[in-house]
Amino acid sequence: MNKLYDNKVRLLLVDDEEGFRTAIARRLGKRGFVPVQASTGEECLEILGRDPVDVVVLDVKMPGISGIDTLKIIKQEYNKIQVILLTGNVAVSDGIEGIKSGAFDYLTKPIEIDHLVNKIKQAFEMIRLEEEKQKELEYREKLEKKMIDTERLASIGTMSTGIAHEINNPLAIINESAGFMKYILSTPEMLKCNRRGALMMGIEKIENSIKRARKITHQLLGHVKKPELQFSEVNLKALLYETFGLLKREIKDKQININWEIDPKKNIIWSDPYQLRQVLMNLLSNAVHAVSENGSITLSTREIDEDIILEIKDNGIGIPKENLSKIFDPFFTTKSFDEGTGLGLFVVHKIISNLNGKIDVASTVGEGTRFYIRLPKTDELNR
């Protein structure tokens, strides 16, 4: 029969009667199954704690921990393992109890070796099916989570732009009032006022706070210099160079190595260079902040179907697992307020979605972070 398939089954044979056990093991070996052997439930559990096993063939009647108890422990600790019970011919009730406790099936002694082989194959097939089902389930959960994430981001986005709208109006009034007071304080008659300096300081604090609030609301509203998408041919490498130019000083200060792995043929896309520059600026400055001295940033591009994948990888501090799902949320930040508004990656996500692209992140604390950006090579709407 199919040797390869048979050899894959990691089998453990447990029986206290050594003669019976070795005989069965030998006969199984001839059919391509080489079992690991154990003579007691304790030994069986010890082996399972050490080595991975797919199928356990387990005698019910054993000194020490009984077969049924061993089975219960196996099912509790290693839920993927399938167990085939071997019972004495008078103890059918043992077999039934075993099945109730999660055994795959039971065979009554004396056993037919081909029967046992078939059962082992069926048990192994069951494991494979379960694994497939599990994978499918995980995939579906991941997909659902992604959909929820996208919806959540969209609704948070709508809400926060609404709030930004409403805040801008009172902010404008505060701004004009402070500006007017500042003007009054600079008139000649006020120069004599001895508390003028203190008033001026207060107004400056108000003005700085207005600037801070305005930065947040304008960023939330996606206010960039070019409000509408303007598509043209974009050379990603040139755009990356240009963006690095803006970060030159930090790169030099930290002596960061930039590794270019950009294929010149897989580097031109039809997109909005202004919006993309904003994206690159946010991602690259994050990368620059994340790496320590002599750190490195690697940039690469590759092609999948009609899309270009740009990967920005750093070997910096990384993002803790619990933060990974939140980094695209508005206002999520681990920096202090004067370093970041928590909107950088939110804006990045928004822009990439607008450009019909996708962005994803993978990160390990202490090892670094990878951002994948997938963008269409051509704009389908304009074709």
Binding site: E176, L221, H223
Partner: protein
């Protein structure tokens, strides 16, 4: 250089904003009129000579864009700067296509306002100057006919 005051009309339903903004522009030496709705703005424009209108896009009743259309129909030479607190840059761009000079996001930087106001007034002055010269040419040609 002596500053020639610009005749500015501020239109916004936010009364506090209009009040403070006009005080500030007056302090800069501009001549300021105010209105709190599109309708009111058109009434002011009918009575007073205005160089530049600073117009909020979102207002109850006649909104900024409708007001802009009316202004551009009735007083085509008057320049309009749109003011938006609502991030509706699309609307602002639409407004510029309808003849607005430029737009500003609330809260706007006062330096930006000053520059845009100055440029808007300059454009209106130049346009008026061209019209005057055209009129002169027209008169000369007519007198030549006689």
């Amino acid at each position: 250089m002596i500053k020639i005051p610009a005749r500015v009309l501020i239109v916004d339903d936010e009364k506090d904003f209009v009040e403070m903004f006009s005080l500030r522009l007056q302090a800069q030496g501009e001549k300021v009129s105010t209105a709190h709705s599109g309708k009111e703005a058109l009434a002011v424009l009918g009575q007073t000579t205005i160089d530049v209108v600073i117009l909020d896009i979102r207002m109850p009743g006649m909104d900024g864009i409708d007001t802009l259309k009316q202004i551009k129909t009735l007083f085509p030479i008057v320049e309009v700067i749109l003011l938006t607190g609502h991030g509706s840059t699309e609307t602002a761009v639409e407004g510029m296509k309808l003849g607005a000079f430029d737009y500003l996001m609330k809260p706007a930087d006062f330096e930006d306002i000053k520059i845009k106001l100055e440029n808007a007034r300059k454009r209106k002055d130049e346009q008026e100057e061209r019209i005057r010269q055209a009129e002169v040419r027209l008169l000369l040609r007519r007198s030549g006919d006689y």
